[in-house]
């Protein structure tokens, strides 16, 4: 319906930027990504640089967000923390996407018993709350970033699987699939060349909206002491440190809280803008654990 340029990357970008929510979302996400990549260069201080003399200071020129109980610059820790957060959330969500995509496409396209089994598997996985799963696993293997990432990936994958499967079921009826079969294309070729490119868009949108959920899970688990371990400055760790003295010195909690809110808002609004520009019929889908 739209000219290709409107559905191509540039066209989508243009339309997303045209809306205030899309503009905001894109700016936030871009800022976060840049921060994550260049964290050590951007941060004014190193994350671990202690300066006991300067501990528990409020915001000042030298320390824009103040210092924590060990005299470390909060802003720097948050900046480095961005790298930790996105370094965990983004790969985890992408793995979830890949996993869900494979399972969903196989189930939807091949049908039969395989489909039935996959659906049961996805339902079962989705029935488990990710946080509890995470707790259990981490209690078992001890705190580990990789384990956490895996838990998040597995917990989120059913969402992708279901969306992928539904899209494939619909697409399977399309004449062009039959046309490719008539040409002699194998199932594998059809799935990779003709099905996946046509269903991937909603999955990317879903991942945009899932990133903040993944971050929230990490923050929560780290807050409980089960995720990232100090001194690595994940936002959850900073939150945890700061929570112990929140009544006298609320700044760490305030800053992390604000950053979490803006991050969640940014990703979610970007995801929604993308969804509205690419396929308004998806309105009503939500990411989340």
């Amino acid at each position: 319906m739209d000219a290709r340029s409107a559905t191509g990357v540039l066209g989508v970008l243009r339309r997303v930027l045209a809306r205030p929510s899309g503009l905001f979302g894109l700016l936030v996400v871009a800022t976060l990504l840049v921060t994550a990549v260049f964290a050590p260069e951007i941060a004014p201080y190193s994350a671990g640089a202690q300066n006991i003399v300067m501990r528990l200071q409020g915001p000042s020129i030298a320390h824009l967000m103040g210092t924590d109980h060990l005299g470390r610059d909060i802003l720097s820790r948050i900046i480095i923390g961005t790298r930790v957060e996105l370094g965990l959330a983004v790969p985890a969500v992408l793995v979830a996407l890949a996993l869900g995509l494979v399972v969903g496409v196989a189930a939807g396209y091949l049908g039969g018993i395989l489909d039935d089994c996959m659906v049961v598997l996805m339902d079962a996985t989705q029935a488990f709350p990710a946080v509890i799963l995470g707790l259990a696993l981490l209690a078992l293997v001890g705190p580990s970033l990789k384990a956490l990432g895996l838990v998040i990936a597995v917990a989120f994958s059913p969402q992708y699987g279901r969306v992928a499967r539904a899209s494939v079921l619909k697409l399977r009826q399309e004449p062009f699939i039959e046309a490719e079969r008539a040409l002699g294309a194998s199932n594998k070729r059809i799935m990779f060349v003709h099905v996946i490119p046509n269903i991937i868009a909603p999955l990317f949108i879903l991942s945009a909206m899932n990133v903040p959920s993944a971050i929230a899970i990490e923050a929560g688990l780290s807050f409980l002491g089960l995720g990232v371990q100090p001194p690595t400055p994940s936002w959850g760790v900073i939150l945890n440190d700061g929570f112990n003295r929140v009544r006298e010195f609320p700044w760490p909690v305030i800053w992390v809280g604000l950053v979490l809110i803006i991050t969640t808002l940014g990703f979610t609004l970007l995801g929604e803008s993308l969804r509205d520009t690419i396929d308004p019929r998806l309105a009503g889908t939500r990411g989340g654990a």
């Binding site: 004449p175 039959e178 046309a179 079969r181 008539a182 040409l183 002699g184």
Partner: protein, 334 residues
């Protein structure tokens, strides 16, 4: 009949039923799961360089028959043959080889083109699928030229093309592998009257140049009148009559064929079919629940309430090339 070459494509006592598994299962659950007898006991041949027109209304099974000849739907019983080889249950390499020889032009021109590929990529798909080396491929430009499209379209996407252009791309793609048989599903549906001529002329030119056989599936009698060498008429999953086009048009032996031909509105105001509606009362029954015996007997003016109602008519020959499936065809012809 001796010394005759094997027909290009053939269906022998072919049955295609849908919903068998569900129906079997339903016996346990007690729920109704009707089996659709889309194609029942059909025998049809398409010769080399021959154009066979397959006509019928909704539920006739003509599209399913076309797809069955290409093994795009599974064969429930009977056989599908190509150049004498039985391909009814082929798989793997055998069927891939078969696909190179018999292709389909689909009804909905846009929907049959993968939306995210450019025209150029779409036309290269057949070669990629069959791993055909560069030197044996026909260039995209040449394929487009064959269907009278400008090579400027090569980098466009299907949705940027008009219906007529998309249809031609479909034809070009079907020709890429130099098939011996083309099955065209409603090649003129949805086309403006003035564009129909273009497509039919093109198909004729291609036939002459490449020596291809055609099966043209259509509900438009005018198209088969114009272009088909032989005409097969289907009703509710059965072939009811088949023979050389002019013979069938002039001297139809089956009551359905006669009714069909007379109710087709012709652009000739003097040929009004005032009485024709009474020839064909009611509507086409559902393929899930076809009438017993001859499936047409419920609407047939010649049905005799005995044989017609209980026994499926067998093939009978009006003359050496004209076959009909009707108990009472001699009476019908008068």
């Amino acid at each position: 009949m001796e010394g005759k070459k094997a027909p290009r494509a053939e269906a022998r006592d072919l049955c295609v039923h849908f919903g068998q598994r569900a129906a079997g299962f339903a016996k346990f659950t007690g729920r109704r799961a009707p089996v659709v007898h889309a194609v029942d006991d059909v025998s049809l041949e398409i010769g080399p360089r021959e154009v066979v027109g397959l006509v019928g209304e909704s539920g006739s099974g003509k599209t399913t028959l076309g797809k069955a000849l290409l093994r795009l739907v599974p064969v429930t019983s009977g056989q599908v043959l190509f150049d004498g080889d039985d391909v009814s249950h082929s798989r793997g390499d055998q069927i891939r080889q078969f696909r190179r020889q018999a292709q389909m032009i689909f009804q909905d021109p846009h929907a049959s083109l993968s939306p995210r590929l450019t025209i150029s990529q779409l036309l290269e798909e057949p070669y990629r699928i069959h791993r055909i080396p560069e030197e044996d491929r026909t260039s995209v430009a040449h394929l487009l030229e064959t269907v009278e499209l400008s090579s400027e379209l090569a980098n466009k996407y299907p949705h940027e093309l008009s219906g007529g252009q998309a249809r031609r791309v479909g034809i070009a793609r079907a020709l890429a592998l130099h098939p011996k048989l083309l099955i065209a599903d409603e090649p003129t549906a949805g086309l403006d009257v003035s564009a129909i001529g273009n497509i039919l002329n093109l198909m004729n030119d291609i036939k002459d140049e490449y020596g291809i056989s055609y099966l043209i599936i259509t509900h438009d009698i005018g198209v088969v009148e114009y272009i088909a060498d032989r005409l097969a008429v289907m009703y509710l999953g059965n072939v009811v009559e088949v023979g050389p086009t002019e013979r069938v048009l002039d001297d139809a032996a089956h009551p359905y064929t006669r009714a069909l031909l007379s109710t087709v509105p012709k652009p000739d105001p003097r040929r009004k079919d005032g009485h024709a509606p009474s020839l064909l009362p009611g509507e086409i029954p559902s393929p899930k629940n076809p009438p017993s015996g001859c499936r047409f007997h419920t609407r047939c003016a010649y049905s005799d309430n005995g044989l017609c109602r209980t026994v499926m008519p067998k093939q009978e020959w009006v003359d050496e090339s004209h076959a009909v499936y009707c108990h009472r065809w001699r009476t019908v012809r008068g």
